[in-house]
Amino acid sequence: MAGRPVVRWVGEDALLVELDSAERVAALYALLTARRAELPAVTEIVPAARTVLLDGVADRPSLARLLAGLDLAGHPPADGPLVEIPTRYDGADLAEVAAGWGVSPEAAVRVHSTPEYRVAFCGFAPGFGYLTGLPDGYGVPRRATPRSSVPAGSVALAGPYTGVYPRSSPGGWQLLGRTATVLWDLDREPAALLAPGVRVRFVPVAGDG
């Protein structure tokens, strides 16, 4: 299916587009949001790990045909805005994550703060972005026992993803550090700093981030 999406009909008026990589998801999401005005009306466009969900579709047959005919090979993900997240790398799980990678905590900070990330999708809580960009081989498991409370601004890892907790909540991700950056602000448009497509760099800082 090189580049060609699989389109599944969901419920009364949704389509689920399955793709073979996070890059293709990013490419399709960028394409659909850029061309939204030309598409049959859609209420929600929700990217996820290997899918893009279109919900509240006014004309499902024509949108399904259009999507199935797309060749995404010629569409690289568009470059969203770049956001820098000043991060104090003093998280409770930094040493354990570093040990899992077979490096020192200092080297683990370099591993994490070197790549440029992209917000692949949001979920779990408003403004919680799942960021891709960590090099292959550096994925980590979730904690066996989730913490009952993870502080707001925690920079954390699980699986291939990095995330930043927009507010204090229970959570099972491995905590690398913390930022003072406000991730979710209802007076901002969009309220989520880390909306899908946004590019992210984590910048190590000594203070409170």
């Binding site: 599944r8 949704a14 689920l16 790990a49 499902r60 047959p61 809580a125 972005g129 969009p190």
Partner: protein, 317 residues
Amino acid sequence: MAEPTATGPAGAERAATGPAGAEPTATGMARTELAVVRPGPLTTVQDLGRRGVAHLGVPRAGALDEPALRAANRLVGNPDGAAALETTLGGVALRALAPAVVAVTGAPAPVTVDGRPAPWGAAVALPAGAVVEVGAATHGVRSYLAVAGGLAVPPVLGSRSADLLSGLGPPPLAAGDRLPVGPAAAGPRAGLVPLPGPPGELVLRLRPGPHDDWFADLAGLARAVHRVAAASNRVALRTEGPPLARARGGELPSAGMVLGAVQVPPDGHPVIFLADHPTTGGYPVVGVVPRADLAAAAQARPGTPVRFLLVRGPGGG
């Protein structure tokens, strides 16, 4: 799957004062408010919910029994989507600080005004200072109380609904809260609206997919009788019954979720997503319940038998 949390970033704010309409009127009267005398076990402000923000991880929220919300609004002359109260089993009591018109629909419950019986499913005029009380539901779970003019709590991302998964919107009612009421619309009041009774048995149509091929025996699912589990809430109707076996192992990468999606976690007990459902989820979705069937799901008490009726939707593959 997302973990519900008790308090959100907006959870600390009491939605007592709206941005507009806070000035006294020309006669010096305070604007209309409803004061919460008895909040009930769980009473929230709900309208038709949020749209267009699922990609930011924001659930849709909104009334679980949407036809009942629309009916209550019509009875008091509001637009269908005006914000109203959704109670849970135990009702609510409110004092009108100025004359107001209210209507109660959804789960049938005794309605009183200053202790005197008043009609359910009809407009009721409240003099200034009167207390309207919705008692415990005699059937069903959720009653709706609409007030002419609608509840004018500040909208968040285009909706006044409380989202109990995320903590967006006004928090559940607490004693002493004051709820601002908007200016009453000039629209005609419906005299009578159809109000279906809560179900003795919940029959939910199920359109298979997108992950029905993850499960071994859909016909078995359709034959089985499940029951509504006590852990059901605004996020999901949970069921207990014969577990649905998987046809394959492995994990599903997180995917976008729709209202009415029936997720099946590893324990095999189907979970039907309601208005506060997470926007993405990591368990396979065996099928989707049409929205028209979700009002009955919102009124089904724990223990109610649940059956799934497999359907193939128009054009659904």
